[in-house]
């Protein structure tokens, strides 16, 4: 049946989707920690920049951000004399990563603030510096708290990758639209596409659950 002939281009697109998901998740994780930690910093400049970043990228639509990076940034570059045209891959990864990073930053911030104050007191009594306290005492305890939310964000990121098809990046959704244009078989292609995303999401959720369990190993045992 025709579905088999769809599989090759769709799988090519799937590979692009997977790569995009991986790159943007990594960028997102870096941004989440950078701005999440920045938001609880006592340095008002770092804190201000972090708050601005989080508000802007959470407060505007992802598609707006994507289009801005791909269509508007080059115009800005023209006006100031630098070539700021981003290839679709870069624009896509950037928009996805920064967007998911802003949501992730709030998760990071919440988890850090959920570490019991008594832990900070114990660290102070042992004369750790604030930086040592953050990296050795607070963050290791905060990270298992973040994992469930990170799992949700990872799946959200996967779904968001479909938007890059609108800037002509050859991901799964783009390929599907190409096939549909060619064969006019909307139901078949799009049903298959929906199930492919569903399958990927299930795999991703399973991976995140595994990560969650291995990171929180020390939480086992008597309370």
């Amino acid at each position: 049946m025709e579905w088999l002939s769809y599989s090759t281009p769709l799988l090519q697109g799937a590979w692009v989707t997977v790569q995009l998901t991986v790159y943007s998740t990594i960028l997102g994780a870096i941004a989440a920690f950078a701005f999440g930690i920045g938001k609880v910093s006592r340095n008002w400049l770092i804190k201000g920049v972090s708050i601005c970043f989080i508000e802007v990228f959470r407060g505007t639509s992802l598609l707006v951000q994507l289009f801005w990076l791909y269509f508007a940034l080059p115009v800005l570059g023209q006006q100031i004399g630098i070539d700021l045209r981003l290839p679709p891959v870069v624009a896509g990864t950037l928009a996805l990563g920064l967007n998911i990073g802003a949501y992730g930053a709030e998760v990071v911030r919440g988890a850090i603030q959920a570490v019991p104050p008594a832990q900070y007191e114990a660290a102070k009594a042992l004369d750790f510096t604030p930086r040592q306290t953050l990296w050795r005492i607070a963050l290791p305890q905060a990270i298992p708290e973040m994992m469930p939310s990170f799992g949700n964000l990872a799946v959200q990121n996967l779904k968001d990758t479909a938007l890059v098809s609108l800037i002509s990046l050859g991901d799964m959704a783009f390929r599907a639209e190409q096939i549909r244009n060619f064969t006019q078989d909307s139901v078949g292609v799009y049903t298959l596409l929906l199930f492919m995303y569903f399958g990927m999401a299930l795999v991703l959720t399973a991976i995140m659950k595994l990560l969650e369990r291995s990171i929180g190993r020390w939480r086992a045992g008597r309370a």
């Binding site: 639509s61 598609l63 801005w68 269509f71 508007a72 115009v75 799946v155 479909a162 599907a176 929906l194």
Partner: protein
Amino acid sequence: MLFGIEWDTANNWVFAVSILPILLKGLVVTIQATVVGFFVAAVLGLILAALKASRLRIISWPARFVTEFLRDTPLLVQVFFLYYVLPEYGIVLPAFLTGALALGVQYSAYMSEVYRAGIESVPLGQTEAARALDLSPLRQFSVIIIPQAIPRIIPAMGNYLVSIMKDVPVLSVVSILEMLNVAKIIGDRTFNYLIPLSMVGGLYLVLTLVASAIVRLVDRRLPKQGIPLR
């Protein structure tokens, strides 16, 4: 020219001012799509939640599968699916309704979870006390459970309202003239994407802040223990 309004590309400032009314027309469409989508999501979500709560596995399991499926697949693909598939079964809707429907369907999955979580957050003791007082199950639900669940449900629904608003631009693929689509058309025709897209970004920021503030206000006004019944 768009919507009958001319723009002026003399310089950046003049351009920005001249396209603002055009963008605002797009804003109206954005808000309309948000409201319709939200309404559909709230109603469908309620139905989905009721199905999931059924004790008959033949009803609850498919409902749970559908919820999970909707949550794990992209809105964009769902929009295309409805847009291309519905006509094949004889249902021809204007593009706006197709888009808003897709939006509502996607978020109905999240809404059903909100309903479930809100109802489960009412302590079990309340149901037990109601039963001990011999209240009928219908009265139990409507007078005891729901009023106490609402303060939990409203803020979550409010947050999803804001999320729906941020997802409206995806509907531009079916030619709905919401804000982002309008800005892109202006950009396509003038080659100056910077001004329109940046303005849309700014408008979205304002919208989000206002909407979030309203949600917080409603949340604060709601008594935590439930809707007061005299």
